[in-house]
Point group: C2
Chain length 148, copies 2
């Protein structure tokens, strides 16, 4: 049996599994506020900088606009954001936080540390996390560059 085909030798399977399991950790913390994990990511982006075009939100999350558009529409239906046509460029759709969307930040104050603590283990500690971040960032940059 070819070693390269072994599941235990697959980087992508590890990333895929770790990503899903951490997302599952977020689920009970976010669902009580009617949020999904991708919606939470949109909030993180808008909390950093409010009133951005769809394209900027998508780029920040490394997602396509055809993923982000329906996601934002659901958030608009929930009253978390507003979507208004751009004034300078009528093609743009500017996404802004509502008061409800802004206030959610305080209510979610416990989320980052709760998930952070759930991930701490033998080889992933506050001291070693930068090493992991560095590797993942390098992989992400490499693949973003490869995809132009």
């Amino acid at each position: 049996m070819n070693e390269q085909f072994k599941l235990d030798n697959q980087l992508c399977f590890r990333l895929y599994t770790a990503s899903r399991l951490i997302t599952q950790e977020y689920h009970p913390l976010l669902s009580q506020f009617g949020l999904t994990y991708p919606q939470y990511l949109v909030l993180l982006v808008l909390w950093e900088k409010d009133a951005q075009p769809v394209n900027d939100v998508a780029k920040r999350l490394v997602l396509e606009t055809n993923t982000v558009t329906p996601l934002l529409k659901r958030m608009e239906a929930e009253g978390l954001v507003t979507r208004c046509k751009g004034l300078k460029d009528a093609r743009q759709m500017i996404v802004s936080l509502t008061v409800k969307g802004k206030r959610l930040q305080d209510k979610l104050a416990a989320v980052p540390s709760a998930v952070g603590n759930a991930v701490i283990c033998q080889s992933v500690t506050p001291q070693t996390v930068p090493v992991l971040y560095r590797m993942l960032d390098d992989i992400i940059e490499k693949l973003k560059a490869a995809g132009e």
Copy 2:
């Protein structure tokens, strides 16, 4: 602005992005054989050990059976696997490779190294990959244990 809410301080976002980008690397390599990445993972599992119940395949991939069942049905429709009722236990559905499913392994021989090479970068080299594997495996085990 709370540091904990910054996107750049989120482990999960990195994992999520890295996972999606690597999966995108697989896409052109797999789609020419009509495969998706999760379907490729099922093949990896069955190439290691043929004829397994749905439950074992799902557990190996850390997925729920309600995710794996429709996935397997699509693979059955493509003639890659067969699904037969278990003889010992009539509740079980045994998934086995067809000749077509077995032969695909040779045709996909170039895939693992192609993706592996695409990921090599400054901080992720054949020497440092074990460190990354260790960290991801620890996180996965920690979260699997937390979810019982």
